[in-house]
Symmetry: C2
Subunit: 408 residues, 2 copies
């Protein structure tokens, strides 16, 4: 008998029938004797409908009122799911963020959770009730309604699981787990039984959009075991947890992530003097452009090249900024390339396994793929390559590292 927090997103509660399916699933867990807290999002489409109403009234709606408006979406779902649970003979009780209460700061539309009062929830669980909580929303010190920003329901679920010291936080999605890579690219991609928080963060931030990064960080920080499961299919899903020190051998590689949304800028022939990187990157940061990979080549003749990647949507803006400062910093030229992708090997096993990088480069070379940039961290190696090689590179690496096979 465990205490489980289950989170169902907008698609999982998108119709009355789906809400009834969720109630049935919750009922099965209750029948096994588990205590259940369910966190739900707004029915799919509802949040957009509400935002659209606001946009008809104002181009820049008051953020406090925006949160009052969109928070009704989850409130509808908690009521309907509680009714569906009661209809199946389960005692249930719904809570808005304010009722829980989920105390946040007052940064409307992107609030952060400060504290969760779990007295009411504990009392309900003790009384045998299923507790249904509105995701994505909270309340500030003054009682104003706040929201956590898009995808905040995952964060609500993890925060409640942390506050209750739940045994597991289950995130129900439209996939049956986390894969070694995107199955649309590699047919033999394999569902992982387990992955560590760190690996999941790299996989998620690199483009495998299963979970909100913020929720994974939160779960890692409070060591809440997270499980990704399919809403409407049976299966064990993928457990995301701390690295278990007891396992003698960790698989070298968890998976391969990739990102098609990047573009590359190179400032060619800058005088190689201290502070040149900051001279180039500070104006980029000041323009609210996020930089991902940065590589600086040691130059000849006192000159150096600095290359970095940004989101493709920011390329034109970044180029304009660089053209504006190129002369001042004595650069010869600014070059851009929108047709690149980033491919990353992710795995905590890299820490203890040497030779992974060289094996990676060898596999890519064997396919004739030219590597434009390389960047590494403790648990990942990323390369930037021409976008036309994306599928080839991912498949070759998946095969080369035998990711389709269960680790021994």
């Amino acid at each position: 008998m465990s205490l489980i927090v289950q989170k169902f997103g907008g698609t999982s509660v998108g119709t009355v029938e789906r809400i009834q399916s969720v109630a049935e699933k919750v009922g099965k867990f209750r029948a096994e004797g588990h205590d259940i807290v369910v966190v739900v999002s707004a029915m799919s489409g509802e949040t957009n409908r509400l935002i659209d109403l606001a946009k008809q009234i104002s181009n820049k709606p008051n953020p406090r009122e925006m949160d009052v408006l969109v928070s009704t979406g989850e409130q509808v779902t908690i009521a309907l799911l509680s009714m569906a649970l009661e209809e199946r003979g389960l005692e249930a009780r719904s809570y808005t963020g304010a009722q829980v209460k989920i105390l946040t700061d007052n940064a409307y539309t992107k609030a952060r959770i400060r504290e969760i009062d779990n007295d009411n929830i504990r009392a309900d669980l003790a009384a045998g009730r299923v507790v249904v909580v509105a995701g994505f929303q909270g309340v500030d010190e003054q009682g104003n309604i706040t929201t956590l920003g898009r995808g905040g329901s995952d964060t609500t679920a993890v925060a409640i699981a942390a506050a209750l010291k739940a045994d597991e936080c289950q995130i129900y999605t439209d996939v049956d787990g986390v894969y070694t890579t995107d199955p649309r690219v590699v047919e033999k991609a394999r569902r992982l039984d387990r992955i560590t928080f760190e690996e999941m963060l790299e996989m998620a931030s690199l483009g495998s959009k299963v979970l909100q990064i913020r929720a994974v960080e939160f779960a890692g920080k409070f060591n809440v075991p997270l499980r990704v499961l399919h809403s409407f299919q049976e299966g064990p899903g993928t457990l995301i947890s701390l690295e278990e020190q007891t396992e003698m051998e960790t698989p070298s590689i968890a998976g391969i992530a990739f990102n098609r949304d990047e573009a590359k800028l190179t400032v060619v022939g800058v005088p190689d003097s201290p502070g040149v990187a900051s001279q180039i990157l500070a104006p980029i940061g000041d323009s609210n452009i996020e930089v991902d990979v940065i590589v600086q080549n040691v130059g000849e003749d006192g000159k150096t090249d600095l290359t970095f990647t940004v989101n493709r949507n920011d390329l034109a803006k970044a180029e304009a900024v660089l053209q504006g400062i190129a002369k001042n910093i004595g650069a010869e030229q600014v070059k851009t390339d929108a047709k690149i992708v980033k491919v990353s090997l992710v795995g905590v096993g890299m820490r203890s396994h040497a030779g992974i990088a060289s094996k990676m480069f060898k596999i890519l070379a064997a396919e004739g793929i030219n590597i434009q940039m390389i960047t590494t961290s403790e648990i990942k190696i990323s390369v930037v390559v021409d976008e036309k090689y994306l599928e080839l590179a991912v498949r070759a690496l998946h095969d080369g590292f035998e990711l389709d096979k269960e680790p021994a």
Copy 2:
């Protein structure tokens, strides 16, 4: 400079455009220097949409969750109206029932207001803000969301006006005031400038559905001047207030109400013994049937007839109850008639003006209208007549009492 509470119903806020019109109207009052609290209902159709979702899940949805569900309707409106006010440069702040807080008992779906905390509202008004409050909803001692039942937004407005000791509570509707009778029946029906709470209660309960009875009762109890106005047309509307003792002469009759929804039952030839009325009416009450007019004729030969009216929808049920007990109480026969209507003259002036009843009967007799039942109170005289005479009776009385003319 006054403090005004303004209530806009579902039709008045039924679309984004209408919400913008309401914002414009509120803006005009602000420009005149008034402090404004606006109470709004859900956008028309929204409450029914939500109820329909619940009905798809359960025939008998959990009442607590029903209130969580439907209270989102007004929450959407307060946010949108506040945005529309801010868009026009007015500072505004929305409040749900819980945020105000409007403390109620815990009778879900039909809660009654216990107390209103007006500290936040007063602070906002002092800061120059328009306060926008969700009608129809409150919160119980434990923080559970409650609703006041259909039409509860009028009650919310009056209760807030009472708590704030507002100068006036304006109820915006789809009519431009209270009329001497239904203008669809009598073309010359005249809008009343004023009417007393008592008269309005009789007019409303007798079928002129402009205001919720409960709100009028509440306003009368706390002496909150109520004004009925048209949402989208200019005009003074009708002021509902206490009878002013300073006026030397009160017009005899305020108006004529009528009710097409009644049906008549007669228990014929019951032994005229003490307790016979209760023997007949107690089983009716036990069956949750509301009785309106009751008349008992003094009988001959120790026999009496008892006649009463019920809502037409309850006629079959009431007849079944009476047939079941007819033998026990020694009745000769039970007769029913669904084709009747009740027509009522209403006016506080009746108290001091003799001869109104006889004038009424004379007018009806002159038109050949047979009176089936008569019942009177301090401020009204009601007659039950064949339904085919309804329009004729109302027009004849309207003419006979010269209700189309302004009182001197």
